[in-house]
Structure formats: structure tokens, C-alpha cells
């Protein structure tokens, strides 16, 4: 009996045999409950939208995609449990999912030991390149690093680092500190607040006390709302002390309220206002599906892209077999709403354009600066001299 | 004081000396400089008006109340010990057992198990885990269960007992522990005459092994069982002596006994 299971298991989830029927199962794994549901449900929506569009257009390899949605419940162990379930029980061809780095780290061993495939839609801190993950969000050199360069040039050398107390902000800031040193900038404050922290008056007092040229903000979730409301209450404006946030996109902006965010800066690869024909179509489709009220933003777009990228790779490979799909994926281009993105076959990250934006009175984000074209992903920041020693993995 | 001298003369060794004890709640002095001493094998009654401080002083003896002044010295096997700064369980281990005014037994275990906890003399985690009750202890326990009339109900839970039955169970548990000094707060409240008499009989029996302090308002009962009586009034000792002499004291009649 046991050996039976064993063979069953080593077969794993590659599951090309499994989809001999006329549909292909794909997994969607996001937090639909708990604190992270705030951000992740919309990404799930975007992924479902892409699946629907592909199905309408005839599916992949002539088969319809059949999404299997699971709730990671904002809990790392649950993410892992659900990943196993998707790979071993449902034998899905691939999984689109996760938001926090913690959840990605939690499922990574599962994907590796079962040779599954995960498409991760969110910008993150880098220092990782698993052959079982495709990273559709920005690597640090596609968001954090250029953002700091921009701020250094346009706002000044005194930076105050503020983030939520978890891995992404802490690691991002350790990158920023190295970079700041290299640029001759001065880090005048570094604060982390627990997730769900609700009162920023003390930190704002500290900011007022040290008077930085700008605040580099890696707060996540609810905390941003509290921070920006109280920032304004304290009489601070972007004119006095500018902020740049890397985890506030249009959806978060709506939750904070445009009046509190107007004039503040953010850094992403995509905005709802990004002017491409693909984006027009995407925004229209998204709103048509989920309502005029809804906005699109970078992770939502990345989730949407991820599905198309995988579909393209499968078409190219002619199978959903993980190894072959991975093989085929390198170099695949997709005309995404943010512009053309390309899969880097080596580290499985994307070539992406980088954009700095400013929140406007409607809560949407206007681009104020962008790179000329897509930037090559560099998750380990190997091309930066100052980043040496940040990672021991090569 | 005279009383005390008297007893010293007759060679009765005290088990408990209460020396100039005062007890205060906020700025209300419930007990003021009370001194008395309880002899071996003596049944002492504390009587006195409601609120005189009888329960308060029992609370102090068994460690439930802090004493603001004075000493309470227990003369036990392990020498003389001032109990005013000791923890409840340590006082209990010295051999001072207490019955409360409102009946209180453990509701989550059966009557039998209640008795079992009481009869065991060793209270450490080790002994409660590994040691079984000796045969002699079990027999003693059965004997008490019979005596308090709860043998048939022994596997029931105490919640199914009436008020009076609970009183009995508590007295039974107290007896089972074979303390050197028993403190009984209104043991016959809520008991019928018959039960009261039975209790009196029992007290006279156990007196052979220990000393007893009883707080009671039942004068018939006091007359029947007391050796000596201390009358409290507004936190002080009004009189002390045998029931007969105390009953004659006009002050006692005025504040306590009434015309009856």
C-alpha cells in the first residue's frame, strides 16, 4: 500500500497525464481571509479574469482552464498546506499565488520538492531565484534601487526609513542602507512597526524632529492608512517632507483616501493610468467584470500578466509539464498593460519598466518619471558593487 | 486574664494563643487588641452580636485575613509558630482546619473524592500522584461518611445536596483531616434540632483528639458543648468564662442574648 503511494507521489504534480481531459486545472492561492485579504483578493480577481479571457479565446492547448481557488488565510502554514493540496490532490498544472514574502517562503519547499510551478505577482526584496517560481513582480533593482536614486537626485540626501516589521521591509531597507552609503546619503531614522499598528504619532514626532528630506515608506496594509491620516493631522505635507512608498498602489490609495495621499510619491512598474493600448483594454475589462468602482494596480496587473505568461509558455512547450514549460518560458514576451515584459530564462524574473508616480486628487497615480524601457531583473543585485555581501547565495 | 492564669494553674497547655490582635479594614477596626488562649482538648465558643468580629478572627487564624497588629501563636508538634504571616496551606498543614460560614465543598468531584482529599495527610504532588490511601484511612473515611449520613450518596456530586447536607459534608471533611485545632463557623446553621444534637455529640467525641473553636448563635448548642465561651462585642472581648457565668453577665444579655 505504502509503496503504492510512494510512486504516486514521485509522479508529482507535473500532471501532463492528468489533463488528458478537455480541461487543465490551475491553482490560485491567495489570502481570502485574515489581514492580507485586503490586498490579495483583488489579485485573485485579476487572475480569474485572465483565465476567463483565455477560456473565451479558446483556452490553452485547446483546453479550458479550470481554476481551483484556495484560501491561504494570511497564515504561512496554511499557505503551505494549501500548496500541497493543490499540487498533490488537485494535481494542478501551475499555481498563481502568494503576496507576502513569508507566504512565498512557506510554499517554496513544497513547490521545489514536488516540482510544481508558482507564479508570484508581487514586488519583493530579492535574494531568491527558485527554479520552481516565476517572479512577475519587481525585483529590487526594478523598484527600490531606482526609487532611491530618483529621490536622491530630486529630494535630498537625508532619508528616514519606515516600514512594517516583517521580512520585506527589513530586507529592502538593508539594501537601501547599503545603497545610501554608496550614494553618500544619510539615514536619519529607521523605524519598524508591528503589522496592524494603528498609532503613528510618536514616529511622526520623530520624523518632525530629525527633518529628513524624504521618508522611504515600506509600510504594508492598514498601517498606511493610519500613517498618512496622522501625517496630515500633524500638519505635514509632501511639500514639507516628501514620502515615497513602495507598497501603496491604487487600491491602497482608495482605502486611505485621496485627500490624505495627494502629492505623495510611489514607485511601481504599472499604474492604472499607464498609457498603453493593452492597459486601456485591461482596465475596461477589469471594471466591466468587477464594477466601475474598482481600480487596477501593479500587483493586480502582474497577477493578470502571470496567467498570460504561463499560457504562452505552455503553448510554446505544447504541454503543461513543468520542466518543459520552464524550458520554454525563457525569453517569452508578453504585451502587458505595463508595456512589453519578457521572462528572463536565467532567474525567472521579468524584464520590466520602472515608474515613479505621484498620487493625484482622484486617488489615481500619475507617472512622474520612468525608465526608457524594460529593466533587466537582478534579484541578487549582482550588478551593483555596493550590494556585495548582502547575499551568500550565488 | 484571670481566666488565663486559672488555666495555667490547672496545668492546661494552650494550643493557640491570640495575643493583642487587631485587624483593620480600611479605617474600620474590626478587631481591637483581642487576647485569649485556647487549651488542649477544649471546646471554645466564640459568641457575640452579628458583626462583632468572630468570623474575622477565625479568618485571621487560618490565614485568610491579614493581622494588622499582634500575634497568633500555634503550639503544635513542630514547636511554637506565629501563623500571622504564613500561607493558608502551610497553616492547614500545621493542623488547623476550618469550616466556613457558607457551606463550601468541591463541586466537580464526588462526595467520596471530596472526603478522600480531606482524609489524606500528605499533600505533596508526589504523594497525590503515587500514594494510595492506607486501608486505615479508608476505613476512617467510610466511618465518617456513615456518620454524616452520606454513605449512600457518596458517588454523587455535592451539587445535588441540600444546604444542611452540605454542612454535614463539610464537617465530615474537616473531621477526616484530623486537625489539632478545628475552627467551625456556624456549623449548625440550617440544621434541625436533631442534626444539631448529633453534631454536639460528635464534637464532644472529637474533642478527645483536638481543640475546637466554634462560632455559633445557637445558645442551646453552646450550652451543650462548650467548655468555655468568649463573648465578642464590637471587636473586643466582652467576657470570657463558662456558659453559665457568661449568661449572667448583664452586658452580654443586653447586647446579645436579649430578654429570652
Amino acid at each position: 500500500e505504502i509503496t503504492d503511494k510512494e510512486t504516486n507521489k514521485t509522479e508529482t504534480a507535473s500532471g501532463s497525464e492528468e489533463d488528458s481531459k478537455d480541461s487543465i486545472k490551475v491553482g490560485i492561492l491567495h489570502s481570502l481571509s485574515g489581514t492580507m485579504a485586503i490586498s490579495e483578493t483583488s489579485v485573485r480577481d485579476a487572475e480569474l479574469l485572465a483565465i476567463k479571457e483565455i477560456n473565451v479565446a479558446g483556452g490553452v492547448l485547446g483546453k479550458q482552464l479550470e481554476p481551483v481557488v484556495e484560501d491561504g488565510a494570511s497564515d504561512n502554514a496554511t499557505f503551505k498546506e494549501k500548496a500541497e493540496k493543490l499540487l498533490l490532490n488537485d494535481k494542478v498544472a501551475t499555481v498563481f499565488g502568494c503576496w507576502t514574502s513569508a507566504s512565498r517562503k512557506a510554499v517554496l519547499p513544497t513547490f521545489e520538492s514536488n516540482n510544481g510551478l508558482l507564479w508570484y505577482p508581487v514586488q519583493y526584496e530579492g535574494m531568491e531565484a527558485s527554479k520552481n517560481i516565476f517572479y512577475v513582480g519587481a525585483a529590487p533593482n526594478q523598484q527600490i534601487v531606482p526609487a532611491i536614486e530618483y529621490m536622491n537626485e530630486n529630494y535630498g540626501k537625508k532619508v528616514f526609513l519606515l516600514g512594517s516589521d516583517y521580512v520585506f521591509p527589513r530586507t529592502a531597507n538593508s539594501i537601501v542602507k547599503k545603497q545610501a552609503e554608496d550614494l553618500g546619503m544619510e539615514v536619519v531614522g529607521e523605524e519598524y512597526t508591528p503589522m496592524g499598528h494603528t498609532d503613528y504619532t510618536t514616529i511622526i514626532s520623530k520624523i518632525q524632529d530629525v527633518k529628513p528630506d524624504f521618508v522611504f515608506n515600506t509600510l504594508n496594509g492598514d498601517s498606511n492608512v493610519a500613517f498618512f491620516k496622522q501625517y496630515k493631522d500633524a500638519g505635514l505635507t509632501p511639500d514639507e517632507i516628501q514620502t515615497l512608498s513602495v507598497s501603496i498602489a491604487e487600491e491602497e490609495a482608495a482605502g486611505i483616501g485621496a485627500s490624505y495621499l495627494e502629492g505623495h510619491l510611489v514607485a511601481w512598474n504599472y499604474y492604472q493610468t499607464t498609457d498603453t493600448p493593452e492597459n486601456k483594454k485591461f482596465v475596461e475589462a477589469y471594471k466591466a467584470e468587477y464594477g466601475e468602482e474598482r481600480v487596477t494596480d501593479d500587483p493586480i496587473e502582474a497577477g493578470y500578466d502571470a496567467v498570460y505568461l504561463w499560457a504562452a509558455a505552455v503553448e510554446k512547450a505544447g504541454t503543461t509539464d513543468v520542466d518543459q514549460v520552464r524550458e520554454a518560458a525563457g525569453g517569452i514576451e508578453f504585451k502587458a498593460p505595463e508595456g512589453t515584459i519578457t521572462i528572463d530564462g536565467e532567474n525567472q524574473h521579468m524584464y520590466k519598466p520602472v515608474r515613479i508616480g505621484m498620487v493625484n486628487g482622484e486617488g489615481l497615480i500619475d507617472e512622474v518619471w520612468s525608465t526608457d524601457g524594460p529593466v533587466k531583473p537582478d534579484p541578487y543585485l549582482e550588478s551593483y558593487e555596493w550590494a556585495k555581501g548582502l547575499s551568500n547565495v550565488q | 486574664m484571670e481566666q488565663l492564669m486559672e488555666r495555667m494553674d490547672t496545668g492546661v497547655t494552650p494550643v493557640l494563643d491570640i495575643e493583642d490582635v487587631s485587624i483593620q479594614f480600611g479605617d474600620f477596626k474590626a478587631i481591637k487588641d483581642v487576647s485569649t488562649s485556647i487549651g488542649k482538648n477544649e471546646i471554645r465558643f466564640f459568641i457575640g452580636p452579628n458583626g462583632a468580629g468572630k468570623t474575622t478572627i477565625l479568618d485571621a487564624i487560618c490565614g485568610k485575613n491579614k493581622v494588622s497588629d499582634g500575634k497568633i501563636v500555634f503550639h503544635g508538634d513542630s514547636g511554637d509558630r506565629d501563623v500571622t504571616r504564613m500561607k493558608e496551606y502551610a497553616i492547614s498543614d500545621l493542623g488547623i482546619g476550618r469550616k466556613f460560614q457558607a457551606p463550601s465543598v468541591f463541586g466537580g468531584i464526588t462526595i467520596d473524592e471530596n472526603m478522600e482529599l480531606a482524609v489524606a495527610r500528605k499533600h505533596s504532588i508526589y504523594s497525590t500522584t503515587f500514594l494510595k490511601l492506607s486501608k486505615e484511612k479508608r476505613e476512617y473515611m467510610n466511618h465518617i461518611l456513615e456518620f454524616i449520613g452520606l454513605k449512600d450518596k457518596r458517588f454523587q456530586y455535592p451539587s445535588s445536596l441540600s444546604h444542611g447536607e452540605k454542612q454535614w459534608l463539610e464537617i465530615g471533611m474537616l473531621m477526616a483531616a484530623r486537625p489539632k485545632l478545628m475552627l467551625l463557623d456556624e456549623p449548625v446553621a440550617g440544621m434541625g434540632r436533631r442534626e444539631t444534637e448529633k453534631t454536639a455529640e460528635m464534637l464532644k467525641n472529637i474533642k478527645k483528639e483536638c481543640s475546637i473553636i466554634v462560632v455559633e448563635h445557637d445558645m442551646q448548642f453552646a450550652k451543650d458543648v462548650s467548655d468555655t465561651v468568649t463573648v465578642f462585642h464590637e471587636g473586643t472581648v466582652l467576657d470570657e468564662g463558662t456558659m453559665e457565668t457568661v449568661q449572667q453577665n448583664q452586658q452580654v444579655i443586653d447586647v446579645y442574648l436579649g430578654r429570652g
Binding site: I38, E40, K229, A254 | -
Partner: protein
């Protein structure tokens, strides 16, 4: 000096917010003994009520009267949460009196349901609420020392609610009945007190206070399905440090955690500050096992 004064005000202001958020709990938990884990969700209900009121004002009324939404929102958030509390008490809570631990579990279940309901109705992402414009300014005293009107307003609101609750509980017949019911339900009934009505009313008041607090929270923080989870632990600490069952205790608890917490945060970091203040709570309980303003009572010591 300026920084010190600013920090002191920050502390007081955090305290007032905590007090505001904890007052309802001081009633449902401190007084009624229900370990109400759904308290945070009543805050959430109040916050969403404020959101809806604001939406309606924007949709149907001229922009000139927008600021008046604030008054309507305060009243309605109290009412909506109170009604919800009333219904919950009737359906569920009333079977749990005297079963503190069970009340914890059931209200935990209720909090899951309410959170999910908020998600189903309003969606997972946060929604935005704008404070009325007269609260958006701050009273600049000197240099960086400025007191936001919002904070002052919440402080006043908290004090107002505190006195309201005090007056109700200790100065009215209803309050006496409430306290009697909480101490001995059977006997209160035997004295002609309609315990069922008192229970529902008290729980409704506690819930209403939470709703009101939730409305105030919309001006300074996030409004989303998980709003309550951010406050639940802090509010329980607040009530417990001071001594459950004592209003003065809750005031003290709010002050202790608010001022102490911000001070620690100032000298260390937000995370360490939180750790330190909770450590202080644990330490304090060692000396005051029933909270600072523990209700001392001969009859309570079993």
C-alpha cells in the same frame, strides 16, 4: 522640551483613543463578564456605518453640508452597533452568562462571521473615509507642537462617554439594576428586575459605545474587515490592567498603556515599545493580581 510636550500629548491622545475603544468593553466584559472577542468587530460595524453615512451624504446632499455627516455618523454608528449588540444578546449571549470561557469562544466565532460578512458586503480592501473639514486642522501652539483637532475632539468624546457611562451606572436606577443583575441574576429577578431586558440593554449599550468608538477611529485609521483585530488585544489589556469592573480602572489602564506605550516607543522602537508595555502589564499584575483598581470584596474571595 517641545518634543517632550508633544510626546506627552501623543501619549494622552493615544490613551483617549484606547479609552474610547475600550469603554464598550468595560461594559460588556468588565461589568457583564462576557469575554467579548467580537468587540473589535463592533468597532468595525461603527466604522462602516460612518462610511455609509458619508457615502450617502456625498451622493444625495449638497457638498456644503458634508461636514454635518459627522454628527449623523456618530449617532448612527452608536445606534447600528447597539441594535446589532441587542440582537446578538437576544440570540446568543444570553445563554452564556456565568460561562466566561464559553463566551470567549462563541464571540470569537461571531467575530469570524462578522469579519467575513464585512468582506462579503464591502469587499476586502479598505474603504476611505474623510474626516469633516473642521477636524482636519490642528491647533498649532509653538513650533512642531501642534494638537490636531481630531485628537482633541476624540479626547472630549471619550471623556463625555466616560461620564455618560458613569452617570448611567452609578447615578440611575437603571444602572443599579444593571449592576444587581450582573452580580446575582436570580436574586435580581426575584426582586422584580426584568433581567432579560437589562441584559439586552446593557450589552446594547456596550456595543453601541464600541460602534461610536469605531466611528471616531475612521478619522485616524483604516476602515476594513480586519479593523477590529488591530484593537482587540489592546482594549482587553486596557480593561484588565485597571481592574475589570471598575470604570476608573479602565481610565487608568488606557493612560498606562497609552502614555507608557508611546514613551517606550519613543525611546526604543514601535515593536520593542509594544513588548515593553506588555511586559509592564505582566509585571504590574504580579503586584496587583486583579488590576490596579481591583474591586476588593470579602464575598468575592470564594
Amino acid at each position: 522640551m517641545e518634543l517632550f510636550l508633544m510626546q506627552l500629548f501623543n501619549g494622552i491622545s493615544v490613551s483617549s483613543i484606547l479609552l474610547m475603544a475600550a469603554l464598550g468593553l468595560a461594559v460588556t466584559f468588565g461589568l457583564m463578564g462576557v469575554i467579548n472577542m467580537a468587540h473589535g468587530e463592533f468597532l468595525m460595524v461603527g466604522a462602516y456605518t460612518a462610511y455609509i453615512v458619508q457615502k450617502l451624504f456625498i451622493a444625495y446632499l449638497p457638498a456644503g453640508v458634508f461636514d454635518a455627516y459627522c454628527i449623523v455618523a456618530i449617532l448612527l454608528s452608536f445606534l447600528v452597533a447597539a441594535v446589532l449588540g441587542f440582537i446578538l444578546e437576544r440570540l446568543v449571549i444570553r445563554r452564556l452568562y456565568g460561562r466566561a470561557a464559553d463566551s470567549l469562544l462563541v464571540t470569537w466565532g461571531i467575530s469570524l462571521i462578522l469579519q467575513q460578512a464585512a468582506r462579503s458586503i464591502f469587499g476586502s480592501p479598505n474603504v476611505g473615509v474623510k474626516a469633516p473639514s473642521f477636524l482636519e486642522k490642528s491647533l498649532r501652539i509653538h513650533g512642531m507642537l501642534s494638537l490636531p483637532y481630531k485628537r482633541i475632539f476624540i479626547l472630549i468624546l471619550a471623556v463625555f462617554c466616560l461620564f455618560g457611562v458613569y452617570w448611567l451606572m452609578y447615578r440611575t436606577r437603571q444602572g443599579r439594576n444593571i449592576r444587581a443583575v450582573m452580580q446575582n441574576r436570580d436574586m435580581a429577578a426575584a426582586l422584580g428586575v426584568n433581567t432579560g431586558r437589562i441584559d439586552s440593554a446593557t450589552f446594547a449599550i456596550g456595543s453601541g459605545l464600541a460602534g461610536l468608538a469605531g466611528c471616531a477611529l475612521t478619522w485616524i485609521g483604516a476602515i476594513g474587515p480586519t479593523l477590529g483585530t488591530n484593537y482587540i488585544v489592546d482594549t482587553f489589556m486596557t480593561v484588565v490592567v485597571g481592574g475589570a469592573g471598575s470604570l476608573l480602572g479602565s481610565v487608568f489602564g488606557a493612560g498606562f498603556i497609552g502614555i507608557g506605550g508611546t514613551a517606550f516607543e519613543f525611546f526604543t522602537t514601535a515593536s520593542i515599545g509594544k513588548v515593553l508595555i506588555f511586559l509592564c502589564v505582566i509585571l504590574l499584575l504580579q503586584f496587583r493580581p486583579k488590576g490596579i483598581f481591583a474591586v476588593k470584596n470579602r464575598a468575592l474571595e470564594d
